[in-house]
């Protein structure tokens, strides 16, 4: 048996509202199947199953707001018998945490323990209390203005935390994009309209491949230490038409062909703007890329999204005089900047990373 819990879909997410179950008890679920929809401050998110099996029992009714970590359902693992579901059990909780729960009015049965062997800690209680769970009374969907205000609050909290806790350093470089754009124009002549590439895809792939060379930037800061990620899931900052932004992951960015990456990038942006992202896309980014070139910005000094340890910014393409073989020639260039966590890397490594991005963009046919 495994517990299917309200996932954390961002550093500052405290609770979510279960909107609907998309699977019924008794139905088979495969790993990656969408089994529920949850409303968060980032919109309606499709929640995927992390395992294969049978949805044994749902424990939370639709339109109920619960804290992160609350058990939503029980999934019986594939190939295992249908053992009876444990409705109640002995909770591992310290006396101090139990007392705090009583003081704050938190139901222990709704708290997911993150301590040893699932023990409930004081921090778990505090997080649950901060989420102000409404277990008994189903909630009404928030009005659009309220959602926007909440999203702004979430962004504010994450960015304030970032600037408070992360010692940022910044490095930047100007990249000659002429070769990449020439290659792109020729490539797009061969492609039907639905398969044409945007130059942003070249930037994403170059960042992903450069991370292989400087892997400490592809990591998360957890507790008091850095945890490197073996997979490279680049989060793409997407501005939303109604305001705010979101940065879902393009999974395994470094392993995808440019054609696949473009198709998935387009799908991701469209779903982000339609409010149809999946839970793993919000929880998995290992670094973020943001581009403000279309807003006329030449250089971006971005704020790291915790627990990530780096963010890459791209400015607009501009025509500049450029020296090639001692001749001044016009070239299309853009500025790439890296904001990185000085606890994890230093400017030397950051510089090597940007140099790798530049080098990779000079060989677009190899991306």
């Amino acid at each position: 048996m495994a517990e299917f819990t309200m996932p954390s879909l961002g550093a500052d997410m405290e609770a979510g509202t279960l909107v609907a179950w998309l699977k019924k008890p008794g139905e088979t679920v495969r790993k990656g199947d969408i089994i529920a929809e949850v409303e968060t401050d980032k919109g309606i998110i499709e929640i995927e199953s992390f395992m294969a099996g049978v949805l044994e029992k749902t424990l939370v009714e639709p339109m109920t707001k619960v804290p992160v970590g609350t058990v939503l359902a029980i999934i019986r693992e594939e190939g295992k018998g249908g053992a009876p579901v444990v409705e109640t059990g002995r909770l591992r909780v310290s006396p101090a945490a139990k007392q705090l729960a009583a003081e704050l009015g938190v139901q222990l049965s709704t708290v997911k323990g993150t301590g040893p062997d699932g023990a409930i800690t004081r921090e778990d209680i505090e997080r649950s209390a901060g989420a102000k769970p409404i277990i008994a009374a189903p909630t009404k969907p928030e009005a659009e203005a309220e959602k926007q205000a909440r999203m702004r609050q979430v962004i504010a909290a994450a960015m304030a935390r970032s600037k408070r806790e992360i010692p940022h350093y910044y490095v930047g470089t100007t990249i000659d994009m002429s070769r990449a754009l020439t290659w792109l124009n020729e490539e797009n002549l061969k492609r039907p309209v639905k398969e044409r590439l945007l130059y942003g895809v070249l930037l994403l792939k170059a960042v992903a491949l450069a991370l292989r060379e400087v892997p400490e930037l592809n990591a998360l800061w957890k507790g008091n230490e850095v945890v490197r990620s073996e997979s490279i899931h680049v989060g793409v900052a997407v501005s939303l038409r109604q305001g705010g932004l979101i940065a879902p992951a393009l999974h395994d960015t470094d392993k995808q062909s440019l054609g696949d990456l473009m198709r998935n990038f387009r799908d991701l942006v469209n779903r982000a703007r339609a409010g149809a992202l999946r839970s793993s896309e919000l929880s998995d980014p290992t670094i973020t890329v943001t581009s403000l070139g279309e807003q006329g910005v030449e250089s971006v000094y971005a704020v790291i999204y915790p627990p990530q340890v780096a963010i890459v910014g791209f400015g607009k393409l501009v025509e500049r005089p450029w020296v090639v073989d001692k001749q001044i020639v016009p070239r299309s260039v853009l500025t790439a900047t890296l904001s990185a966590d000085h606890r994890v890397s230093d400017g030397h490594r950051g510089g090597l990373f940007l140099a790798a991005v530049d080098r990779l963009l000079q060989e677009p046919e190899s991306l």
């Binding site: 002549l189 309209v193 044409r196 945007l198 501005s239 038409r241 109604q242």
Partner: protein, 84 residues
């Protein structure tokens, strides 16, 4: 036998495509000579989706080099009228 589309039909197709990428937009207020980007805050991904939508609705091949001709409503109607 195919029938040539009228200017109104092309205009409506273009506006429908714009409505898909900018659902909050007041399409009746679109200024025909002003770029979509300036009126609707669309980015390159939006524009690509717009081109794909027009291509699929009218079955017109639109080379990338012609994209600048499609940045206003007037430009779209003029360009597409000669190709449908």
């Amino acid at each position: 036998m195919t029938q040539k589309l009228t200017t109104d039909e092309i205009t409506n197709t273009v506006l429908r495509a714009l409505g898909e990428i900018a659902p909050e937009a007041d399409l009746a207020a679109i200024k025909p000579g002003v770029s979509f980007r300036d009126q609707l805050d669309i980015d390159s991904m939006d524009f690509l989706n717009f081109v794909i939508a027009v291509h699929e609705a009218l079955h017109v091949e639109i080379p990338e080099a012609d994209y600048p001709k499609l940045i206003t409503l007037n430009g779209c109607v003029e360009y597409l009228s000669s190709r449908v």
